[in-house]
Symmetry: C2
Subunit: 208 residues, 2 copies
Amino acid sequence: MNSITVLLVDDHLVVRSGLKALLGTQPDLDVVAEAASGEEALELVAQLAPAVVVMDLAMGAGMDGIEAIRQLRQRNSRQAILVFTTYDSDADIVRAVDAGAMGYLLKDATPDEIFAAIRGAVQGKSVMSAPVASRLFQQLRNPDEVLTPREAELLGLLTEGLSNRELGQRLFISEATVKTHLAHIYAKLGVETRAAAIATAIRREGMR
Amino acid sequence: MNSITVLLVDDHLVVRSGLKALLGTQPDLDVVAEAASGEEALELVAQLAPAVVVMDLAMGAGMDGIEAIRQLRQRNSRQAILVFTTYDSDADIVRAVDAGAMGYLLKDATPDEIFAAIRGAVQGKSVMSAPVASRLFQQLRNPDEVLTPREAELLGLLTEGLSNRELGQRLFISEATVKTHLAHIYAKLGVETRAAAIATAIRREGMR
DNA sequence: AGCGGCATCAGCCAAAAGGCTGAGAGACCA
DNA sequence: TGGTCTCTCAGCCTTTTGGCTGATGCCGCT
């Protein structure tokens, strides 16, 4: 019947045309437009009101995917938003779901997974790749491992390579307090040294 | 005339088909095969002897792109190898060129750039995206800041969060030697602590 | 009022990391 | 052959980190 209208958002032309070619093999899926940036996506959604938006998170310049999702939600548009990206970083997943994404697919998903996700999304089903799902579950199962705001702040500075003294100065707290926070952070991250903390933080939060 | 035969190597189906669609618009470019892994690529090159191999560096499982390039070179095959990847990390660029890549393109390159690169590659020209080129130049201008192989190896392990003792055990060298290497690495990276070294290494090398 | 979570700080001690100097072996190159 | 680079190792000393214990004030919830 009515085919499902799809908007593709990805800053890489190659990915867009690949996805378009792929979706073109399905009679019920209809790619009505492509956007190379978040801004473009917002415009096209307003104009075309596609049923599904398939969106990459990393966008070269300007608004990133997360922000685009958030803005789409705010304009209470009723598109189902599917994240389609290369990386499965904890922070990205949580932020995307939080911003209002219906599903989260990795770029190495099989065609069938992609089709199923899009069809599911319009029906309100939320679909995600297996590795993504497992990460989400882990977040939910271990709320103990969620950093407090202050700890997160400290961890952020930690990944810049600051020493305890510098951390203290930057946050206007004593070195003793810095050490206390660090101990908590290490425990929550499951590491024992600041080096490991930095490594896991940068890798798992997708910090750059 | 004789069209240019191309082999695409990328673990993402979407990227492959996008690239294929793109190259399909050019009468003189002929995608004769696609590979999803380094191993597959080696096989297909042996069978089909394409004129150009367009290869992603990050391959999900098994042999990565760099290794594939190296092996292709060792089998003194005469393909021109073009790297086509998302990130422009210093280490990747150097390693790819070192392994024998003819060119280095980023995935946000325009179609024309991609076409030109492929055509240039078969003629022995080496082509690279502007940001890539500038990084390479910087490397050439500051040879003092280039890590030795051993140092790079150590830095790689460092970003896993290992201690000096663990580094030594892993590399079969004494802790004293580890500290020597680290001192050199810090000097070259322009940092003073391992924390900062890890931070800059992960961020600038695109390590994950 | 009481309890728990959060942020703050202190002191003590052991372990790890970092700065410095010096040095030998092998590879490579002019 | 001599110079340079790389990798290897040692000792010594200072600074930094990390582990542990304990403590205070604040806020929010019951």
